[in-house]
């Protein structure tokens, strides 16, 4: 006896809604902390951001990886248990309502309902009986007709199965959690980089977990296309899948258009350049732009390496002395840069003193030379001449490779949850009761009433409409009788 009462206490604990609310609240609260504290950082990060004590506490309780920590999973586990126990507990009670073996209509419950509606019909009970039976048996999914001493009554139900909606929602959560667990045990999620023209048949996850793929992935080609404003519009990898010299197929993949084969999914995730962005050697001719900041006049001037070229406005000469594909200037990376030797006259006469100076012109930064505050502001006219043309570039493609055998359960859960929530919120189990009683004078009274398990306001409207429809039947009967 004692064991049984203990079991009951446990059962009561896990079937309580208080526990559900507590668990939902705790999960929400913990999740908030998980978004505020940056996840997956180093020990040093937590200690420097939150102080030594709190940093240690965060690491100790696993708040650096909240959603995979032991106690987050414990909360999820408890919630699942709560859902299971709750559902079983309540389903026993609802099952007999949804699928009754035998049932009796509790006529008094309906007859005495305070909001029952009654109207006086003009036809006789026998005239009304068939039209009403026909009308209501079509309208209701469940229909019964009983004769009484003074007439008859109809009992009907709709949406009986809508009571199952709430169980669908709860089972869907269990499906998603189960799917998630299956995915984390029997699936994987990793990242690989393949250079154009190369191939791979395995991936490394985390520190040292190596996964062999059932086929080889070869990247035949990778390309990026751009919008007019220069932002990327599409990344595309042409992949060939093969096994033991046996080529399966070649197919392009894009972001949002993954490739799925033999349970393995391949996603376009990132890309990078293997070759440099800019040329290693100077192009044959370079067009430089000399702008006089005072007059705002600009002069494009062609130049070649080590060629002494006259400056505009007869100000002297310049020579392109050097080109570096990547140049560092006081700790900054300036990229491709030209070195010019300027021999610029201080005045306009031919015998004016010439001041030779070296000037750096970074290709990517046309405004850089402003800082020198010289006679001319010099920049490179066409930056793209220095870029390696798209056809000569070599890329690597970054692919996300995943396998998730739990996904079908998760997706089933998704569909079930949406249907379940819709049914639970917006459909209800309605019971109707319509009774026709004959008066001593031969006319009869019609009583309309009903109950619903949800949305009582909606039920009142439904009953009002039903009464109207029955009155219409009565009028219709009357006119037919009149004609005869």
């Amino acid at each position: 006896m004692k064991i049984k009462s203990q079991k009951n206490a446990m059962w009561l604990f896990f079937s309580s809604v208080k526990l559900s609310v507590f668990l939902l609240f705790t999960l929400a609260l913990v999740s908030v902390f998980g978004t505020i504290i940056a996840q997956g950082q180093s020990i040093e990060y937590y200690k420097s951001t939150f102080g030594h004590l709190w940093g240690t506490v965060i690491l100790l309780i696993g708040m650096d990886d909240t959603y995979h920590s032991f106690w987050y999973r414990l909360l999820m586990g408890l919630l699942s248990l709560n859902i299971i126990v709750c559902s079983i507990d309540r389903l026993f009670a609802t099952w007999s309502i949804i699928f009754p073996k035998t049932h009796t209509v509790k006529t008094n419950r309906f007859r005495n309902k305070p909001d029952r509606q009654i109207f006086n019909a003009r036809c006789t009970m026998t005239q009304l009986r068939d039209p009403i039976r026909l009308f209501l048996s079509k309208k209701w999914t469940h229909f019964e007709l009983f004769s009484t001493d003074t007439g008859f009554y109809c009992y009907g139900e709709t949406g009986r199965k809508s009571r199952l909606g709430v169980y669908a929602v709860h089972v869907s959560i269990l499906l998603m959690i189960t799917g998630g667990i299956i995915g984390s045990f029997f699936g994987f999620d990793g990242y690989i980089q393949i250079s154009e023209g190369e191939s791979t048949n395995h991936l490394v996850i985390g520190q040292n977990q190596k996964i062999e793929l059932p086929f080889t992935i070869q990247c035949d080609d990778f390309s990026v296309s751009y919008y007019d404003n220069g932002t990327p519009s599409e990344f595309k990898s042409i992949l060939t899948l093969k096994r033991d010299n046996n080529t399966f197929f070649t197919r392009p993949i894009l972001v949002n258009h993954p490739l799925r084969y033999e349970g393995i999914n391949i996603f376009q995730s990132s890309y990078g350049l293997l070759t440099a962005e800019y040329r290693q050697k100077l192009p044959e001719t370079v067009v430089l732009f000399f702008q006089n900041p005072k007059t705002r006049l600009s002069y494009p001037v062609k130049g070649k390496l080590n060629e002494r070229v006259p400056l505009p406005e007869g100000k002297g000469f310049f020579t392109i002395q050097n080109y570096q594909a990547s140049y560092r200037f006081s700790g900054h990376h300036l990229g491709p840069t030209l070195t010019l030797l300027l021999e610029i006259k201080s005045g306009n006469k031919s015998d004016d003193t010439v001041m030779p100076q070296l000037v750096m012109i970074p290709v990517q930064y046309p405004k850089f030379d402003h800082m020198r505050q010289g006679y001319f502001v010099i920049s490179v006219m066409n930056e793209t001449d220095f870029r390696i043309p798209e056809s000569e570039k070599r890329y690597y493609t970054g692919l996300q490779i995943t396998k998730d055998p739990g996904i079908y359960l998760v997706y089933t859960g998704f569909i079930m949850m949406l249907i379940g929530i819709f049914v639970t919120f917006f459909m209800s189990h309605r019971q109707y009761f319509v009774e026709v009683m004959e008066n001593s004078s031969g006319t009869c009274q019609v009583l309309v009433t009903g109950i619903a398990n949800k949305n009582k306001l909606g039920m009142i409207q439904k009953l009002g409409k039903l009464k109207q429809e029955l009155q219409n039947i009565d009028t219709h009967c009357r006119t037919i009788e009149g004609k005869i």
Binding site: V17, K18, S20, V21, L24, F25, L27, A28, S31, V32, G34, T35, I36, Q39, Y67, G180, D189, Y227, N229, T231, P232, S233, E234, F235, L254, V255, N256, H257, P258, N265, F267, Q268, S269, Q400, I401, T402, I407, V410, Y411, F414, M417, L418, I421, F422, F425, F426, L457
Partner: protein
């Protein structure tokens, strides 16, 4: 007419409608409430036009996509959903005072969109956003947000109604407000769920993971938990009125954080800034 002109007029109209409803409520003038209804309907027409014109001009620019791709466009759509849901409730329940608590939200949302810090240019879609799921995801999410926004407005209304003063007695009956709050929460919950699910399916086809604990995902889940609590407290423990109103206000704070606050944190939804 350009999209931005249409939306400027819309902002003004929502502001005017909000003023009309508030004045109508405070001074108990029915003609003010009635003009609020007309202003709201005109505003919805302009709001719809603004969205459609923007959609068309994106195609004319050769980068055609539904105008649901950044913060500006989402704010415009948010005020549209709030106004459309509100007007259908007004039509169904014939209570114009509710407008005083809802239209200011539509106005605020569009005013925020007009701030210079919010980029209102039409930009091409980044590769990750090029998906048919974009419309389904954003549409469902914002229907959900709008449902919760209405529940929030109604909750404020409920709390004012329970304080018995000169302004409270022309408001609808507590029972009706309470029922409406719950209706809006159910509506919001269904669409928030649909929003999270469409987002998960999309993420699974774009990145190969349906759930990544990205801050926005996590915050939508937190919001879902809060409203799940409201629903359980109401259905199973019979909570109503004040307590539901307060949780609904907290829930809406979570919605706002999911919408705006998360942009302060790094994550996959960074383009929604």
């Amino acid at each position: 007419m350009s999209s931005s002109l249409a939306l400027s007029i819309t902002t003004f109209m929502y502001g005017a409608a909000a003023c009309a409803y508030i004045c109508g409520w405070i001074f108990k003038k029915n003609y003010l409430n009635l003009s609020g209804t007309y202003l709201t309907i005109i505003a919805i027409v302009f709001n719809t036009a603004g969205i459609i014109i923007r959609w068309i001009s994106s195609y004319e620019m050769g980068i055609g996509h539904a105008p649901l791709s950044n913060l500006y466009e989402s704010l415009v759509f948010f005020s549209w959903t709030i106004a459309v849901i509100y007007i259908s409730i007004e039509y169904r329940y014939k209570h114009r005072t509710i407008g005083a608590f809802v239209l200011p939200l539509a106005f605020l949302s569009l005013s925020y969109a007009s701030l210079p810090t919010v980029n209102n240019s039409i930009q091409p879609l980044i590769p990750a956003l090029k998906s048919n799921w974009l419309i389904a995801h954003v549409f469902t999410c914002f229907l959900g947000y709008a449902g919760f926004a209405l529940a929030f407005g109604l909750s404020i209304m409920f709390l004012i109604k329970t304080k018995d003063n000169a302004f409270s007695h022309i408001l609808p009956e507590t029972g009706m407000i309470d029922e409406l709050i719950y209706q809006m929460i159910m509506f919001g919950f269904l669409f928030l769920t649909a929003g999270i699910i469409t987002g998960a399916v999309w993420a699974n086809s774009a990145w190969g993971a349906y759930w990544s604990w990205d801050p926005k995902e996590t915050w939508s889940l937190i919001t879902w938990f809060i409203y799940a609590i409201v629903i359980h407290a109401r259905l199973m423990r019979g909570w109503s009125g004040k307590r539901i109103s307060w949780i609904s206000i907290i829930g809406f704070a979570a919605v706002l954080f999911t919408y705006f606050g998360v942009n302060l944190l790094p994550g996959l939804h960074s383009y929604a800034k």
